[in-house]
Amino acid sequence: MNTVLAVVAGSVGALSRYVLTGAVQRRSQSALPLGTAAVNVLGALGIGLATGGLHSGSLPLVVVAGFLGGFTTFSTWMVETVRLGALPVWRPAALANLLVPLVSGVGAAAFGYYLTR
């Protein structure tokens, strides 16, 4: 049952990602795809909080993880970084698009994790 809920939650996460990415992207003046960065950092914070122990008994961790798995995306981040000019010669925008979400995303997960543990 939780598995089914996790899958459904993941598709709701996908729609949430589509909406939030679009909203950020429309307002963004940056050359970087900040919409993808925003969902990923936000989702990493969420999973950190949930895994650290914030999740209540009413909503199992697998369902929260399912939602955030659909909400965040790794493949879009990689393709967008490649398209900014990552291989074989690195452009500064591609390097920034790799490192900023990486550092802030892992940092957000750690922050959430240690905050709630």
Binding site: T3, G10, V12, Y18, G43, T51, A65
Partner: protein, 138 residues
């Protein structure tokens, strides 16, 4: 990537179908990710082979799909279903982030760094390879 999809002034019927395509693709992608996690579960603090495999495979497929779609002028519906909903949901950044934290927490920081390197370098290579395949093959 979604820039093309963010144009205004769409017909009403097309606007109404957008959430359905993303949700439908999200169901497929999430089900595949959940199945992979169930078939090959990795305990917290162990090297996250399953997430790595999912993220690398998804990066290859997304690079391939988008490059091929640009050549063949695929539908917007396909973009939303397969790319944004499907492969976007199949791969995950949140699991990646918390797994790095858990590896460090387990005192395996070197493994954590290796996981970050394998995911990012591998993901970029897979995305670029996918684009190359999508551009050059039928």
């Amino acid at each position: 990537m979604p820039a093309e999809d963010q144009q205004r002034r769409r017909p009403t019927l097309e606007r109404a179908s957008i959430p359905l395509a993303v949700i439908g693709g999200g169901l497929v992608g999430s089900a595949a990710r959940t199945a992979a996690g169930a078939l090959a579960a990795t305990p917290a603090g162990a090297f996250p082979t399953t997430t790595l495999a999912v993220n690398l495979a998804g990066s290859l497929l997304l690079g391939w799909y988008l490059a091929r779609r640009e050549r063949a002028a695929g539908s917007r519906w396909g973009l939303r279903f397969w790319a944004i909903g499907g492969l976007g949901s199949f791969t995950t950044f949140s699991a990646f982030g918390v797994e790095v934290v858990q590896l460090v927490e387990a005192g395996r920081s070197a493994v954590g760094i290796g996981y970050v390197l394998a995911s990012t370098a591998g993901g970029l290579i897979m995305a670029a390879a996918g684009e190359q395949i999508g551009r050059t093959t039928r």
